[in-house]
Symmetry: C2
Subunit: 343 residues, 2 copies
């Protein structure tokens, strides 16, 4: 581990420079990814270990990032619960579940990750061998609330009315669903850790739609339970939620090792909102990569300076890299962070 600056930073230890990886770094913006994607569907890529391994490795070689993150989709465990998931071009995922009563929740399967999502664990095992001595491997899962939002809404949403209506008008059904998802996510992440994941990230992408009071009541206890039940002596947990500046004081109660921050808040203010003495990850606006390279460097330098207020800082974007990003700008960012982040 001592050579892995990403893992050292996750535990708040000093590093030679600021480590960086990029959410969705193995993604559509990369011609080498598009080449694979033209021959295979997105789900096929997720479910074929050799393909998932291939695209996971691309940004490590091409961008020089300090960690690899498993190429997969947050809806993989949802599908393994028996819910049909389809990806519709230009619309996003369409899910086939209806949650109207407790029996709808009971019908959702708690599955054995080694069996139902064996392709994920196989990709993790291969990746560990391929990456040995290079960079560590991050596994991930959607957090219970974000998975619940896809299940209840039937896909992406604008106002999350179905989810909030369930939450507000049928809290028993909502809590039954969240308890089940808490067990599913815990098992799924523990299986990834057992297969070799060296860090895990919990994506609670949609938590930011809630008032602080609703977040505390309906989400926090479940995410905290997932984190508490991970088998992780040497495996740090990163918590990420988009658009969540006002929830940061509550996140500290989650017990994660690292907190991912979106771009709407200055990173030093985020550290303060989290209560200080904390490890943060982030937080460049993904669209900032559309700036000319000199300005990208300037912004990166500003974020690094603000990140010095934290115990440790892992550089990242505040949300996933966008499909129309110039890969050269991503490469320039990685180079700039390594250069400007030197202690």
């Amino acid at each position: 581990m001592e050579n892995y600056r990403f893992l050292r930073a996750c535990f708040g230890e000093t590093t030679d420079t600021v480590p960086i990886w990029i959410m969705r770094q193995a993604g559509r913006y990369m011609p080498e990814y598009q080449e694979v994607r033209q021959k295979h569907s997105f789900m096929e890529m997720c479910k074929t270990p050799d393909l998932a391994v291939k695209v996971t490795l691309l940004p490590v070689d091409i961008l020089g990032v300090d960690a690899a993150i498993l190429f997969s989709d947050i809806l993989i465990p949802v599908e393994a619960m028996g819910i049909p998931v389809e990806f519709v071009e230009g619309k996003g995922p369409v899910l086939g579940a209806k949650i109207r009563d407790e029996s709808d929740v009971e019908r959702l399967a708690e599955f054995d990750p080694a069996e139902k999502t064996g392709f994920v664990m196989e990709a993790v095992r291969i990746l560990r061998k391929e990456l040995e001595g290079k960079v560590p491997l991050i596994g991930f899962s959607g957090a219970p609330f974000t998975l619940a939002s896809y299940i209840v809404e039937g896909g992406s949403s604008k106002n999350f009315i179905k989810l909030k209506t369930l939450m507000y008008q049928a809290p028993d059904i909502y809590r039954k669903l969240m308890s089940k998802l808490t067990r599913v996510v815990t098992d799924y992440l523990n299986a990834q850790i057992e297969a070799g994941a060296q860090a895990v990230q919990l994506f609670d992408t949609w938590a930011g739609i809630l008032t602080p009071s609703d977040y505390r009541e309906y989400v926090l206890p479940y995410t905290r339970k997932v984190i508490a039940n991970l088998k992780r002596d040497e495996v740090p947990v990163i918590h990420y939620a988009n658009d969540s500046a006002t929830l940061l004081p509550l996140f500290r109660e989650l017990g994660a090792d690292v907190y991912g921050i979106d771009w709407r808040i200055n990173l030093d203010d985020a550290v303060e909102a989290l209560g200080g003495d904390v490890v943060v990850q982030g937080n460049m606006d993904p669209t900032a990569l559309f700036y000319p390279v000199e300005k990208i460097e300037k912004i990166a330098g500003d974020i690094i300076a603000r990140g010095r207020k934290a115990r440790a800082h892992i550089f990242n974007l505040g949300h996933g890299i966008l499909p129309t990003t110039d890969p050269e700008h991503a490469r320039a960012l990685v180079e700039a962070v390594h250069r400007l982040g030197k202690k």
Copy 2:
């Protein structure tokens, strides 16, 4: 004015109870609105003073709110600039402009509001007569940045890539567009004030997509200029931006009389972020109206208590009321705010 608790609160004066109005209060959730809408297109309703007047008055009579807000659309002045605007069911507005160079900006018309948007001014004049002695009338406009986002993106957007690309890669064209929109919005609001609007709200709905640093550089100077150039001795200006908790310290520099707050931040924290001694408007989660009525009252009471930290508080939702809201819940909210808000 002394009988208008809404206007008194806008200027930070004491009132008998907390005033309330609701963004989009004359909207799709109301059967009486749907009745009109079934016979007329949305744009027809905006452009026919008698129809606009009719739906503007509905929530005053049915809900008992403390202010009427002109029924209109933020894209009315955009269309008056010569940009085709079409409303596509289920997709939202589709705009026909392309902003690629300075000549595209030059082609956009600065129009005489009394002439090109005479139907708006006519509706305002009729409404003032109809509302005399009841409640004051609020006029409104989109802020320059939010109008620019619709123009450059060609409609609604998820990541605002076209707008941010223009901003970052062609700042001269962006600034030329923003300067023109600043003049257009100023003239448009001044015409509404001249016609009789007793308060105006600037909707900078999308400002929250920006980092604080980008907001300061690309938006703040333009909105401040609009506010500075309004002819408004007795006409308060309300500034509203969704999802803007981290921008609140900057908003105070805008010079508005009232700051509209979205639901993601506790209202007392918003008052503090604004620097204290300020008038705020907000901030119940629109989806909170899907709670049972007793819980709605509890949440309203909590918001009112937090609002006591402000110089004055105008109750509202943190964003527009949602189409599937039960009108009875909206009515119950108005009643509860008037009862619980008593000094």
